[in-house]
Symmetry: D3
Subunit: 141 residues, 6 copies
Amino acid sequence: MATVKLPEDLESDPKVKAVFDDIRKTRGSDFINNVWRYLAFDPALLEEVWYDIRDVMAKETLIDFKTKEMIYAAVSIANSCDYCVHSHTAAAKARGMTDAEHAELLRIVSTAARTNHLLNGIRPPLDQAFDQGFDDIDVAD
Amino acid sequence: MATVKLPEDLESDPKVKAVFDDIRKTRGSDFINNVWRYLAFDPALLEEVWYDIRDVMAKETLIDFKTKEMIYAAVSIANSCDYCVHSHTAAAKARGMTDAEHAELLRIVSTAARTNHLLNGIRPPLDQAFDQGFDDIDVAD
Amino acid sequence: MATVKLPEDLESDPKVKAVFDDIRKTRGSDFINNVWRYLAFDPALLEEVWYDIRDVMAKETLIDFKTKEMIYAAVSIANSCDYCVHSHTAAAKARGMTDAEHAELLRIVSTAARTNHLLNGIRPPLDQAFDQGFDDIDVAD
Amino acid sequence: MATVKLPEDLESDPKVKAVFDDIRKTRGSDFINNVWRYLAFDPALLEEVWYDIRDVMAKETLIDFKTKEMIYAAVSIANSCDYCVHSHTAAAKARGMTDAEHAELLRIVSTAARTNHLLNGIRPPLDQAFDQGFDDIDVAD
Amino acid sequence: MATVKLPEDLESDPKVKAVFDDIRKTRGSDFINNVWRYLAFDPALLEEVWYDIRDVMAKETLIDFKTKEMIYAAVSIANSCDYCVHSHTAAAKARGMTDAEHAELLRIVSTAARTNHLLNGIRPPLDQAFDQGFDDIDVAD
Amino acid sequence: MATVKLPEDLESDPKVKAVFDDIRKTRGSDFINNVWRYLAFDPALLEEVWYDIRDVMAKETLIDFKTKEMIYAAVSIANSCDYCVHSHTAAAKARGMTDAEHAELLRIVSTAARTNHLLNGIRPPLDQAFDQGFDDIDVAD
């Protein structure tokens, strides 16, 4: 159950059609997943979100596509976004993430969460070394 | 201000000394940052946490060291752990993350947070395609 | 699936009946949604929660009803409470929130989440100006 | 302590100068708070974030300026972003939020958090009424 | 730096004085910590929060005082509330929590956070057994 | 819908069989709930998680079994982990938690969340008293 109604006859709105066409072209696929279909309840919001996501995630940047999706999935897990965890795990797999890499991603995310809570409970002072340009620090945690 | 007292004469406890020696050897550095010093208030907990972190983060695994630290930092940001954000951003830099890659990491994390909240507000149904083995899906979100 | 059993014959408990009667009177409706029915597993807890919510949300206060529900929905999104997002989005709509206002609410919430994560990643120092009584500051972020 | 170095001679970069000029013009003030100064470590990121925030928060939209800042502050509280809570509480005050309204905002946010946790603990089923267009529902929670 | 101004001459307001007197009496101590002093910026809010906390935490209930403070601290860690982690860790210690119990609390909280993230990443289906009254289930996770 | 495929013929993998046998022995029950079955998609991860959980939660330690499950459930509520809330509420009930204790747990968790948000919104300074060894402090919040 969503909090907005799925618009009928989605692509009769020219803004929606333009975004959907760009999604199809960018991905080389006719499949439009639900996030975009429901976001069409407000075509301006749909536009803003799609072009922003596309520029960060679907364009060549410094970080490779698979890694970007794995970072995105990690944040989505921490923020407990059900839909996002599914869509970005699927996207990471589509970008080549193997089951073994998926397991390692989950290992890192859950280990991080463990120490995040541990240190939020202990609250040790920051090391001054962290403020010295990070040039010659060897820290693993 | 921490919630535990920093133990005096830390390395007089043999468990603590063994962990600190392993930290120094693993990192090739004499620097022991505060998280390990404060965790020494309970040597058994220190041991568990260090060996777990070391095996995930400081050993050769499928994902390279820099990427692992970037994923760890991403989760720490989402969980609002002040110390962890600092230590793992520093660690990622020590592993070679450039300023431009740092900016891109922040761009991905903050974009993910934006759509995490958007979809937690809209709650679209999961696409059945996500359950078909993820073999032939092209999704960016 | 809930973690508590829905009590049978709910209104046979006089505390529960009194709260349900007050809900009906306050809302001018016979509809009792699930949160109140399941909370009846502990009539004292039901009482505490209802009267607290009622006084904040269903009485005339400084902030108008529609805005209060929108703020409540915003917090519920950030805390990833599925039921609460649905019930308070519905309540905001019942109080007059249009689809366009809903879209704007989601735009604000998701933009806030984006900068929340960005600044939790950068951790800039607080501006001293924030401590001067906020009298003459013009900040948008 | 921030995770990025504050760039020296900030406005020697033309992108940074253009954003800072736009901030000054939009706010009618010479004060540039730290978030923008530190974001200048990556001028492209600074640009993206400022223009996005400006369009949502500093332009006339459906929701009035004070309410927008209050919603933004509410989300920032829930996401535990120290800097954001300060800057957007200050911004809401600059937009006219009184101490009494601030207290009411905190009352709504903290009451919402209470029921968010309560219902995340009980997990009652969604009411089917929430899916009927929200037309004739009277729910306060 | 707080977002509200500490009121001057706090106890000149009779509502504030009554709450402070009740805090002193309940605790058998003259020490009033900052949360109550700053909450006095809105005496009605101070009243609501104190009496609610007092009834849950400072009265004899089913769960003993030390355990209640440990649960409260656990939630405060997960919600990343700096002040609350400090005050409720201190309160648990005042109620008899030893260093070894503190370490065990942190071990449980951080292990829970680890599996919370792991399962939010995997999203296994709920076991139907969880819905059968919990009468004959032996689950540790 | 899970993000990993449930492996077929689970116990044909000797690592998985060994863990499942240990789960059955530890619990004295043949019931293996879904978390362990899905985790078997990566036998090494399954092993790490089970033995870690078992040592914290299923062995005699300082804190009794029922209280440990209640703390675990509290953290799971705050982290919005649907599966974990169900499994650890069930586990607490299997360890003897009554409905009245469950209601009190929810009361503490939700009251904590309320003040967590309130103080994350006000951000009062830490009391210096919290740093003096916690020896003679009487604080309830």
